[in-house]
């Protein structure tokens, strides 16, 4: 007589559980991919339309008496948006040049200079503005929203936006002269 036993049924992970696990894993990978893609995009590129942004302004640096300025309100004007910080040594190299360049356009209504103070404290920022005698419109980049929109890689960085709200030039690092600033502006002035 021989003795055999019935085969034990193989117990595996239920099909529904396998589907859930794979869906979750794939969704996670897609999410990580999107995040990494965003991080490696670099700064916004010339030719890109700038989304509407609002810069809160320091008191004493208001635009037409308003404590904040919308980029969309500046359509028809050329906007020079400069990111800076009081702790940034290279920013000090260009501070005087920016102010001098601004003085050349201050009387007209074709060009607006905006300073966005990046990850800074207000007392230090104000001391910096006073030290370099800066008079153009300036304010903190609240919540770092503007710098995140432009995906800045550091400070100083300056973005030149034309009269239609399209970015046409990006300057990474400090300007070396007033002429450099003015020549970039002149590209879009009639």
């Amino acid at each position: 007589m021989t003795e055999t036993t019935a085969p034990t049924p193989k117990r595996g992970v239920p099909l529904w559980a396998q589907i859930v696990i794979w869906v979750v894993l794939i969704a996670l990978l897609v999410l990580v991919g999107i995040m990494l893609g965003k991080r490696q995009q670099g700064t916004v590129q010339p030719g890109d339309q700038i989304p509407d942004l609002t810069l809160t302004l320091f008191s004493g640096y208001e635009y037409e008496g308003k404590s904040e300025v919308k980029i969309s309100d500046l359509r028809g004007k050329l906007v020079v948006l400069n990111f800076w910080a009081s702790w940034c040594k290279p920013c000090e190299q260009e501070a005087a040049e920016l102010e001098e360049a601004w003085k050349a356009y201050e009387g007209g209504d074709q060009v607006v200079f905006l300073g966005a103070d990046y990850v800074d404290t207000e007392p230090e920022a104000r001391a910096y503005l006073k030290k370099f005698g800066i008079t153009f419109f300036n304010g903190p980049d609240m919540g770092t929203k503007i710098s995140q929109t432009f995906r800045i890689s550091g400070v100083p960085e300056t973005y030149f936006i034309d009269q239609d709200g399209v970015l046409y030039y990006v300057k990474i690092g400090p300007f070396v002269s007033v002429d450099e600033i003015q020549s970039i502006i002149a590209q879009k002035l009639p």
């Binding site: 021989t2 003795e3 055999t4 036993t5 019935a6 085969p7 034990t8 992970v13 696990i21 996670l28 999410l31 910080a85 009081s86 702790w87 990850v119 800074d120 404290t121 007392p123 230090e124 903190p140 609240m142 919540g143 770092t144 929203k145 995140q148």
Partner: protein, 161 residues
């Protein structure tokens, strides 16, 4: 009379306690007080370095701001809220429990539990004594040949009798 003494003693103790609290608040803000909050924050300029140990000028300024805010009587939560409002939620060492941030809190425990469950199942399978298997097709064929042989053998033995 005893009652009066007790009340006076209690009043003195309470007065002493409140005076101490007052003195502590009036005194200078210590580095430990600043760092207790700073270690919960990260400056966006120096990623992955907690504010309490970050050596950059930007972080030094932030610590000074925290010191000033503590001396003004702001609570820990108020200071953190100020930093979030000014520099964004990414300055927090613990992401706020909103939106996609929930994944950070939910997924790791889920994966750990799922991993533990599969490990448990696998170990149980490995340690279970194996039953005699029904065998593959070759085994069945061999068994069948063997059965024939035994049947013939038994038949012959019966005939000899």
């Amino acid at each position: 009379m005893k009652k009066v003494y007790s009340i006076l003693t209690l009043a003195l103790i309470l007065a002493a306690l409140f005076t101490q609290v007052g003195l502590a608040q009036d005194g200078e803000v210590t580095d430990n007080q600043v760092n207790a909050i700073a270690k919960q924050l990260y400056c966006p300029v120096c990623e992955n370095t907690p504010l309490d140990v970050c050596p950059t000028e930007a972080c030094r300024q932030w610590r000074e701001l925290i010191r000033q805010q503590i001396s003004e009587g702001m609570t820990e939560q108020e200071i953190k809220d100020y930093f979030v409002a000014n520099y964004g939620a990414r300055v927090l060492s613990e992401p706020p429990r909103t939106g996609l941030n929930w994944l950070v809190y939910i997924l790791p425990p889920v994966f750990i539990l799922a991993g533990a469950f599969f490990l448990f199942r696998s170990f149980r399978e490995w340690t279970r004594p194996r039953a005699v298997s029904a065998g593959t097709g070759q085994d069945e064929e061999a068994q069948s040949v063997k059965d024939d042989y035994i049947a013939r053998l038994e038949e012959e033995l019966k005939n000899r009798k």
